[in-house]
Amino acid sequence: MIIGLGVGGTHTDVVLIGEDCILRETKVPTDHSNLFDCVWKGLEEVTQDVPPESIRRAVLSTTLTTNAIAEGKMVETGMIVSAGPGIDPGSFRTGSHYYCVSGSIDHRGREIQPVNAQEIENVASRLLAEDVRQVGVVGKFSVRNPKHEIQIRDILGNRFENVVLGHRLSGNLSFPRRIATAYLNAAVYPIHSKFFQAVHNSLKKKGLNIPIYVLKADGGTMSLEASLHMPGQTILSGPAASVMGALPFASDTEETLVLDIGGTTTDMAILIRRVPLLDPVGCELGGYKTLIRSLHTHSIGLGGDSTVRIVNGSLKIGPDRQGPAMAYGGPAPTPTDALFVLGKATNGNMEASMRGIRNLADQLGISSEDTAHLIFDQACHEILAAAATMIEGINSKPVYTVQEVLEGHQVRPREILVLGGPAPFFAFRLASLTDFQVHVVPQWHVANAIGAALAKNTSEVTLFADTERGIVVAPEEEFYQTVKRDFDKKTAVGLAFELLRKKCLKEGAAETELEMEVLEEVQFNMVRDYYTSGRNIRVKVQIKPGLIPEYRDIAERLFNFCPLPGAT
């Protein structure tokens, strides 16, 4: 059995999944001020009377780090940044404990200016005096040569609770994003580790000594231990959980648009033959552009509870939510109220909905029913327009080879999977407005918990070799070695796979999950003075995101609900 838990904005969903169906599911109201209690309550409910040894794992998707970042509730974090020539590193300041120090590495990873130990010593003293316990260390081009970041960490020693090194977080180039990513990882470290230690200890106390996994922004899982090194990876795991929950129902020959229509927002993502599309660089959250590997998602402020009002004589839906629909005691009319007026929803206060929509109808000078139709259609059109914009964005991403320009692959989904509260109603209307195949995800109300439960480990390894300098480096893996002149792309790919395999097993992946693939493999002939002097090789490999293999084939059956006795 597997436990999947997804913390949402309003509810926390928990499922217990057996070999071929959902055994238990429960919903606990989410209390953002006390996330642990609601998570714990949910876990307790689904595990009641279940023999601990029969539970293989629990996967948690929480909003813990996401909210901490979005609400700016992070601990004081010191940043030590060495840039060398280029954009003023002061432009990327993350807070008051931000120190730019000397030291520089160039694009090929050569040291241009060494680290000044005394300078770092001084910064360390100041950080300690300022009572800063979390530190991020980032150098420009540290992914080409991590020497300076390591030297700085060694000087800092064990005087701080946690020191995050930029080169360990991603192999991608972008100094400003590396700074933001290191900062976020350091700044959410205490809150993340405290929370998960509490979950771990509580389960242990109950005799449930089950491995805990955490869902990441890219829709993959990692072990609790691994997440302590990179808590930033857990941000935006909420939308990722829903997308993974929709995965088993997507076409394996087509491209799919996934729409998660919630109360406040609609989140969208793209699947390509059942594989989620990832963001090419990293996700953005709370104004931070990061190198955190994540699904390519787009969110708009339009959901079932969005406020509907008249602005300059026409309807405007969202982007704010003032409360639930009027049918459920809310203060302002919403698309959900429109569904009540149209008789599609029934289990609420119909009168209140009528009142809210009639008020809008009077301003427009049309009937309430027409107004409700208008609201519903406009919501559908706006969602489709936002999806089209997202797809356009994906398709207009520049490419850098002649071949790619000429191939010009375009994402053209022909299928929509809808989940979220008003999913069935929207699916019906979207189907009549477009020529997409539209499906509702079965058990959509717990799809995020199911997605978390069934997601497999994902990882990526970036490897860079420069045979003229005689080096190969895989920054995230702490791998830095010398190579001979005959080191080539084929060897590089083999090495990258080997490192990836090691990394995944360390992060708690099962052997069966290691479906590895090459994302990028390029080799440049380096020529100096008209003679070939070496090879510049760049390789990126990954574990294809998806569902754990044992469950992949029977995932569809899992969506049957066959309650165990004692389930609430």
């Binding site: 180039l173 100094f175 552009k289 520049p398 008209y530």
Partner: protein, 438 residues
């Protein structure tokens, strides 16, 4: 948060799978370290810098500029179409006002490609700036254009294409032709009889450094632009004036390139040459992008940059002052020269040989222009190569008068086609391109 002063577009097309040959300066590796630097600096994330996917230039785009023998696709590879298309994309975005200015960081380059093309010269097959400019004229009615070519090599291709066009001011600043390929670009090369003074050449001595470039900019290029009042300024932004460039002898630097860009304020910049792929391009390109965007580039420097080591000598300074005086003299006499040439012969001839160094072809051209008082004059070219290929080409200029148009058609229709492989008519007012095969 960094935000640009002007909304700046960027097309980045490093053509990582295209090379003239595996060890040629124009090879896959050329923009690799530039990409690394641009990505690592995070330039594409800055609010106000927008990256665009390059369009592909079309055959028709090439036909507005070139007479290609035997045809366009024998001259241009797909990579050239993307490179020219990238320049065109930036031009379109500027004229659509989606961006204030933009930089096409593309390869392969194009400024040595002349009007007639039998092959590749100086690593160039088709002229990517001219293709963009003529597209913008056709699609947006742009009229007056200034091209400022800051590549270290004389932009002889662009000069040739605009030699007879009074609406295009071509200014090339380069290492003196007596010391560098292509061996042209002297101050007395001033444009054809209907456009004298619209070609301005500023040959600078070897080892000119930042001081000399900026002096020339302030005392020649900017005053001339001020008077010409172009609708758009295009910068052919070659980067081989750099002190580390392996095939030239100048002492320019990233700070200087950025400062030049800031003062010049080009609407569109297009990368040309520049072959110091590690020591110069990463820093120069970052400097140019930041200068275009109006960002502070004062800390963009090469790791081995020591201004005192590359400073030009007092002799060089004095020499440059003299060059600038000569250049201003040419500019100031432009109107007089035009009047004088109109009073002269009705038709003017030009004969020359053109060597295609990359493809090893020698071409002989006989060019005749109608020295027209009403337009820039219809042009015919009789071009023959040492491989025995001969074409007859007629160019009817964009604003051709009726008489010139009729003359052009008459030339084209009456040519003895048996003597030529092809006769070609480029009718710019009608945006037409006609070919007869012999």
């Amino acid at each position: 948060m960094l935000r640009t002063k002007s909304k700046t577009g960027l097309v980045f097309f490093p053509a990582f799978d295209w090379a003239i040959s595996s060890t040629h300066p124009e090879r896959e590796e050329r923009l690799l370290y530039t990409q690394d630097q641009v990505f690592e600096e995070g330039l594409l994330d800055i609010d106000g810098i927008i990256e665009f996917k390059p369009d592909l230039a079309t055959i028709q785009d090439i036909r507005r500029v070139h007479f290609s023998y035997p045809d366009e696709m024998s001259i241009a590879t797909e990579s050239h179409l993307i490179s020219a298309g990238g320049a065109k994309t930036i031009g379109i975005q500027v004229l659509e006002k989606n961006i204030d200015r933009g930089f096409a960081l593309v390869r392969p380059p194009g400024h040595h490609a002349m009007r007639v093309v039998h092959g590749a010269r100086g690593f160039c097959n088709i002229n990517i700036e001219a293709i963009m400019i003529e597209y913008l004229r056709q699609a947006y009615g742009v009229d007056r254009v200034a091209v400022v070519d800051t590549d270290c090599h004389h932009g002889d291709g662009t000069q040739d294409i605009y030699w007879h066009d009074p609406d295009t001011l071509f200014i090339s600043i380069h290492q003196d032709g007596r010391t560098l390929y292509p061996g042209t670009g002297f101050h007395y090369e001033i444009g054809g009889p209907t456009a004298p003074g619209r070609t301005i050449n500023i040959p600078l001595p070897p080892r000119t450094s930042e001081e000399g470039f900026l002096f020339t900019l302030d005392n020649a290029i900017l005053p001339i632009l001020e008077e010409f009042k172009p609708d758009i300024i295009v910068n052919s932004a070659g980067q081989d004036n750099h002190y580390t460039d392996p095939i030239t002898n100048m002492n320019f630097c990233a700070q200087g390139y950025a400062e030049l860009t800031r003062r010049l304020e080009p609407d569109i910049a297009v990368l040309e040459g520049g072959y110091s792929i590690e020591g110069a391009l990463p820093y120069v390109n970052v400097g140019i992008i930041m200068a275009m965007a109006g960002l502070d580039y004062s800390n963009v420097k090469e790791p081995d940059y020591h201004p005192e080591k590359i400073r030009q000598s007092p002799d060089t300074t004095r020499y440059i002052e003299k060059v600038v005086r000569e250049v201003m003299d040419v500019w100031n006499r432009g109107t007089d020269m035009r009047e004088r040439s109109l009073a002269g012969k009705k038709f003017a001839d030009r004969e020359r040989t053109i060597f295609y160094d990359t493809d090893n072809i020698l071409e002989t051209q006989k060019e005749t222009i109608r020295v027209c008082p009403d337009c820039s004059g219809v042009l015919r070219i009789d071009s023959e190569t040492d491989r025995g290929r001969r074409i007859f080409a007629v160019h009817i200029p964009r604003k051709a008068c009726r008489e010139c148009r009729e003359t052009g058609y008459q030339w084209y229709d009456s040519v003895d086609i048996r003597k030529y492989n092809q006769a070609i008519l480029q009718d710019r007012p009608e945006d037409q391109y006609l070919v007869r095969t012999g």
